[in-house]
Symmetry: C2
Subunit: 473 residues, 2 copies
């Protein structure tokens, strides 16, 4: 990058502004089209290096109405929240440009600079690696990311502090750093060098060059959005469909009194285990229609107060959700202050219905397994247990249940023409489920395949699996 920067030339302001506006409108017009993109701009750096001024100048050259700016004060990481959680909502939609002053890197720096709890370098680097993976996922999903570090030498910083207008000091209190302290300055510079090799460094010394370099680089980023096709290597290897999916066990009917007693014991134990666990709990259900997701969920919450949990029923995405990365609507549903979150269908829709119906193309769904694994690992790293169920029913049993639903008054709402249509693609779903199970069964978020031809056994098995996973860790 440095070589390029040294070659950069000041260009006529009006010309620059015109090019920026043209690029901005081209981006805006892309919305809903196959080449749709959005632009995320992360801005961090040394205090008084001119971040604010450069963005301000940019806003004057662009059409300011279509440039959003988000400026959260840096926050210390807390261990119940992924690094992207509080920013997820602000990920720009197709056609939008978003500048983030506060971002995951400024949070990381704040956390690492906090004197009482120094962060070791391995952990710091691990965070950086996870952040880059997250950004790669954004890019693959049409959110361009470009990162700017505004730099300023120690000497210039001190000079600027000397001449500071006291009425403007308020911004400098935000970062909780003492910019008069050379040691802090040096540690910060050392730390940021651990991540800034894919950042564009803007020297804050000269104001005009600073603003132009910043704007020119953004122009380049918007104009030349690369296409990120991180295609899977080699031919797709279809996983074999496991026996448990082909022939779900149908255990003998349980004795009713026994079942009731055991159900009561287990529901009580599950609610206590979830309450006592210091972690949040995410329970995810997938499976064919009528496999018993609703019934299983009902038993999980049986002994809970309705204020203790949230059930998310996932259907087709809304239009505004479609203009963001497909995982976006799930990022926003994960709430650090929600103890128990149950998903009736999940983010696995990408590799099930979207794969089968062609809503996601081959490159997209084949890439999604890794994206999902990263998502679940981030959750797991931030004190959230992810418990995943595939409810396995046989094709015959499904037919029986469909027919029963059509004949039972309070169940007939549960069955639609679409359910019958999905049934015709039974084998496709089995194949997709097999791939999913083999590629996303991880140590931190394992799958539980539960046979549901016998409803009662299935419900008990689900509860037992929850207990097992909560205690196993």
């Amino acid at each position: 990058m440095t070589a390029k920067q040294n070659q950069f030339q000041l260009i006529d302001e009006e010309q620059l502004s015109l090019q920026l506006i043209e690029a901005q409108y081209a981006l805006k017009e892309s919305r809903g089209k196959s080449n749709a993109k959005s632009q995320l701009i992360l801005v961090s750096g040394i205090e008084l290096a001119g971040k604010g001024e450069a963005v301000k100048q940019l806003r004057e050259w662009l059409d300011p109405r279509y440039l959003r700016v988000k400026a959260d004060p840096p926050r210390m990481f807390n261990h119940q929240e992924t690094f992207w959680q509080s920013y997820a909502r602000s990920i720009p939609a197709e056609g939008q440009i978003m500048v983030m002053f506060g971002n995951w890197y400024s949070d990381l720096l704040s956390t690492a600079m906090h004197v009482s709890q120094p962060m070791d370098e391995t952990m710091f680097d691990e965070y950086v690696e996870n952040m880059r993976s997250f950004e790669q996922d954004l890019k693959n999903n049409n959110v361009e990311v470009v990162k700017f570090w505004f730099d300023l030498s120690w000497r210039s910083l001190q000079k600027r502090l000397d001449t500071l207008d006291p009425s403007e000091v308020h911004w400098h209190k935000l970062h909780g750093l003492d910019w008069r302290n050379k040691k802090q300055y040096d540690s910060l510079q050392k730390l940021r060098q651990r991540f800034s090799n894919d950042w564009i460094i803007i020297d804050g010394e000269d104001e005009t060059e600073r603003d132009q370099l910043f704007a020119q680089q953004i122009l380049r980023a918007i104009q030349h959005c690369p296409v990120h096709l991180s295609k899977a290597k080699g031919r797709w290897q279809q996983a074999a469909v496991p026996e448990a999916l082909l022939q779900p066990a149908a255990e003998a009917q349980q004795d009713d009194a026994e079942y009731k007693k055991e159900l009561k014991r287990l529901t009580k134990k599950v609610s206590e285990a979830m309450r006592m666990d210091r972690r949040n709990v995410v329970i995810a259900f997938e499976g064919m229609d009528a496999a018993g997701k609703g019934g299983a969920i009902k038993r999980i919450v049986k002994q809970l107060d309705p204020r203790e949990y949230e059930i998310y029923t996932i259907g087709a995405p809304e239009k505004y959700e479609l203009s963001r990365p497909y995982q976006w609507r799930f990022w926003n549903k994960i709430q650090p202050d929600e103890k128990i979150m149950i998903f009736d269908r999940t983010w696995y829709g990408r590799v099930l219905v979207e794969r089968i119906e062609g809503f996601a193309n081959e490159i997209e769904w084949q890439r999604a397994y890794d994206e999902i694994n990263r998502f679940e690992r981030d959750l797991s790293d931030s004190n959230t247990v992810v418990i995943k169920f595939w409810l396995a029913i046989s094709k015959d049993e499904q037919e029986l249940r469909f027919k029963a639903r059509e004949e039972t008054p309070h169940k007939r709402f549960k069955i639609t023409a679409e359910d019958w249509r999905n049934r015709e693609r039974w084998d496709d779903y089995l194949k997709a489920a097999a791939d999913m199970l083999s590629r996303t069964h991880t140590a931190y978020a394992p799958w539980h395949v539960v046979a549901t031809n016998d409803k009662k056994t299935a419900r008990l098995d689900v509860l037992r699996a929850i207990l097992k996973q909560l205690k196993a860790e």
Copy 2:
């Protein structure tokens, strides 16, 4: 209500469940249709009266996947936030049912019960009145509201506290009230009687009756959603179009050096005034296309850091916004932690473009003036200054600017076929603006009509008006 309750009869559970599910699905199917509704259920009451249990039972009778539950712990009012602000996001969309345990009434009770700052009765009653107006606006905009107070006698409460399972005590810490204190109990009961006459009172004594009464009342509410046509009384009185709109003054061109000097002085003063003001500032712009909204906004933020303000450019609502009250998207944009919020077009769209294009029917737009006034009064009551501008341009000047835009490279994006179409309805817009100005010019949120045929004078006038309103109060 009491009479009805005494007459209520237990009905067969399966029957009740079936009716509830049918009503729920009918509501769900209404989405997007002309009879679309949503159901908001507020739940408050005495501790241990069984609110949680009743909702739990309801969730078992209904299809739990389409019943959302929100349970915020009660919060004290803070004076930078309207009472509805933190709940706005959870207002249910068409077809949805939402139970709110934490709600504006529980916040009001918490605030009033806080010993160190007792609230006088007049203020309490004023809050209640504002809350009812807000609920009436919700109802008029297809969000049904039904309120339940779960009651329990002092004696029964004490008995239940005696036999409490210690492992379940956690819910009772939430309310910060000492339920062993008879005086507190009595004050709470006295307070809630000041608002509960339009609530359904559920006696928590008998569990079965409690759950059935609650569920039956909700069934009734969903089945018999009344149509709220609070039509304006009498014939619509079209306001006369004021001279300032018909013939906006075109003052002589300013001396350029003078203008620049004064502009610099004013932009500096405006940014300081907004920063120093202890209140948040909302600045709202309306006016014909090309009247100079963008240019005025540019000057307002001239001396601000981009992190200090937010610009909202308002276009057509998205689909998910259309399934809520029309003001909803603005409720959600008002952020108590955002100091300066600038709206390029506003909630007045309801009585301008929506009125003229027929997106809102006569009853809806005629009702909107009062709704808007209430919204702005709530903002004003919670320490937010609302500064509103109508930028008045003449039809000839607009034509000149449209043509200039088409010929200027970096402005041609600003002009579309729609702008020319809107121009054909010039007189309709003038009439609508006249009605708007005469009906929503209030002491707490006055309009500033600024003539913009001369751009420079207009920009200075906008800045002066901001200064005037900020100091006048």
